[in-house]
Each structure stands twice: as C-alpha cells, then as structure tokens.
C-alpha cells in the first residue's frame, strides 16, 4: 500500500467512526456486517459524505461493496484513478 493509499484508508476509517459515533481502537475491525450501528441510513450518510469529501459519485451497484474502510478506500482509489 502506498502512502497515499494508506492516508485515504485512514481518512475513511476516521469518517466512518465519526458517523457511527464509535471510538477508535487500533485493532478494532470495522465492517458493516459486524457493526450494529452501521444501518441503512448511516450507510447512505457515510457514502454521501465520502462523495462530498472526494468529489466522486458512487454507482448504485457499488453501494453494497462499500462495507469497510478498506473496501471503501479501494473503491475511492478506483474512482480517483479514473
């Protein structure tokens, strides 16, 4: 992972934790399936906050795959590289 990629993932993690109102713990795994607070409404808020932050637009088909900071960072890198 490059420094830029790591920074994106770190920023995404921070944003997700903020929206879910969770404290950061270094080894905490953040996945939509395992975090109860990451419900359908919060998911939309997170996706749109990311769109605004990075000036991208996710397709409907991508919404489901955005299920962890790592997966979101991958999708963002794909958009930013396009």
């Amino acid at each position: 992972m490059t420094e830029g990629s790591a920074q994106i993932e770190s920023e995404v993690r921070e944003l997700v934790l903020r929206f879910l109102e969770l404290a950061d713990e270094p080894h905490r795994e953040i996945r939509r399936t395992s975090v109860d607070q990451w419900d359908s409404l919060k998911h939309m808020e997170i996706v749109f906050a990311l769109e605004d932050r990075y000036d991208v637009r996710f397709d409907e088909s991508e919404f489901a795959e955005l299920d962890s900071p790592a997966a979101i960072a991958r999708a963002l890198r794909r958009h930013l590289a396009a």
Partner: protein
C-alpha cells in the same frame, strides 16, 4: 384493504399489493432471514392471506417499486390503524436495495400527510440490531420497556419505536435529504450533475 393509494418519492414509490404479487412476496420473505415471520410458505397460502388482507379495512400493504423501471424492490405495510395511530412493518427489501430510507419516508408520508394520523409505531425483535439502529437513526423515539409480540407463532421480545406527528417535520427533512441524494445516484451520470 383493496385501495388505490400510490405514494411516489424521488426514486421509489409505494403501490398497492395485488394478487399477482403473491409469488413475489413468498419468494422475498423466504429469502429474508430469521427476523421476518415466515408467514405463507407457498403461493396458495399467500393468496389466501391476501384475500384476508383485502377484507380488512385498517390495513395498507404495498410493493416498493422503482420509479424508473417499475421493478419491485420490496414490500412494506401500514396496519392496525385506529385511534389516529398505526403500526408499520412487513418491511422487506431486496438484499442490495437502496430503497430503505425512501420507503420509510413514504410510509410516514402516507401516515401523516395522507391519512392525517397522529402517531406511527413499529415493533422490532430485540435481536434485530440493524433494524433497531435504523429506526434510531431515522429519529424515532425508542421506548425503554420491551413488548411481547408473536414471531413465527411464538412469543418474542420486541422494541417499540414511535414517531409522533409533532416530530414528523424533523424526521421528514432528514429522510428526504437522503432520499434525494439516493435518487441522484440512481440517475444516469450524464443526466445528473454533481452539486
């Protein structure tokens, strides 16, 4: 109840359930997992259930449909209507659907703006943490005491959320803002300029 109420939003609409939806309902509910009452196990049972539903006067059952393609995204209902309040539920969406926020918005619009109700409530199994979180996120009030409901023929503990009319504008604003953004993401990119 057989009714002709359609409630349209930005990307989705609620349209009355029809007899022809029986097979879809059985299939969708069969795929929905442990928190949804199993209900009818085949189309014949579902048609019989729909016949009883059509005879009830206090019950509105809908298919959630995409506005653009008219494809089915799920089901939702508003029922036990009386004393100016109602329960909503029977809410099941296709696994990757993004209709949740707008479907909830539309059922509240039906309750408060079309039927002029004063309160809507919903009951969710205690173990169904994602749906409990969804109602919290929407801005509903979660009651502290659990209630007992019937789930697959057995008593089960549930959490009740309520939305009263005086808080509806605040919830509507929040849900509508998100539903607007969702609709923009469903539109073809060339037809939807960013911000």
């Amino acid at each position: 109840m057989r009714h002709e109420i359609h409630v349209a939003g930005h990307a989705f609409r609620l349209r009355p359930v029809a007899d022809a939806d029986a097979a879809y309902i059985v299939d969708l509910r069969g795929r929905a997992g442990q928190y949804v009452n199993r209900g009818a196990v085949d189309v014949e049972q579902q048609r019989a259930w729909l016949d009883r539903y059509f005879a009830r006067a206090d019950d509105f059952y809908f298919v959630v449909e995409r506005l653009d393609a008219r494809t089915r995204e799920g089901i939702i209902g508003l029922y036990h209507i009386g004393d100016r309040k109602a329960e909503w539920g029977r809410f099941v969406l296709e696994p990757c659907s993004v209709a949740a926020v707008e479907a909830a918005l539309l059922i509240y619009r039906l309750a408060f703006d079309v039927l002029s109700l004063h309160e809507v409530f919903c009951r969710t199994l205690v173990a169904n943490a994602k749906v409990l979180a969804f109602h919290d996120s929407c801005g509903l009030v979660r009651l502290s005491d659990c209630v007992t409901i019937e789930h697959d023929g057995r008593p089960a503990m549930a959490v009740e959320h309520r939305l009263e009319r005086d808080r509806w504008p605040e919830v509507r604003e929040r849900l509508d803002r998100l539903a607007t953004r969702v609709a923009r993401n469903l539109a073809p990119k060339e037809a939807s300029r960013r911000r």
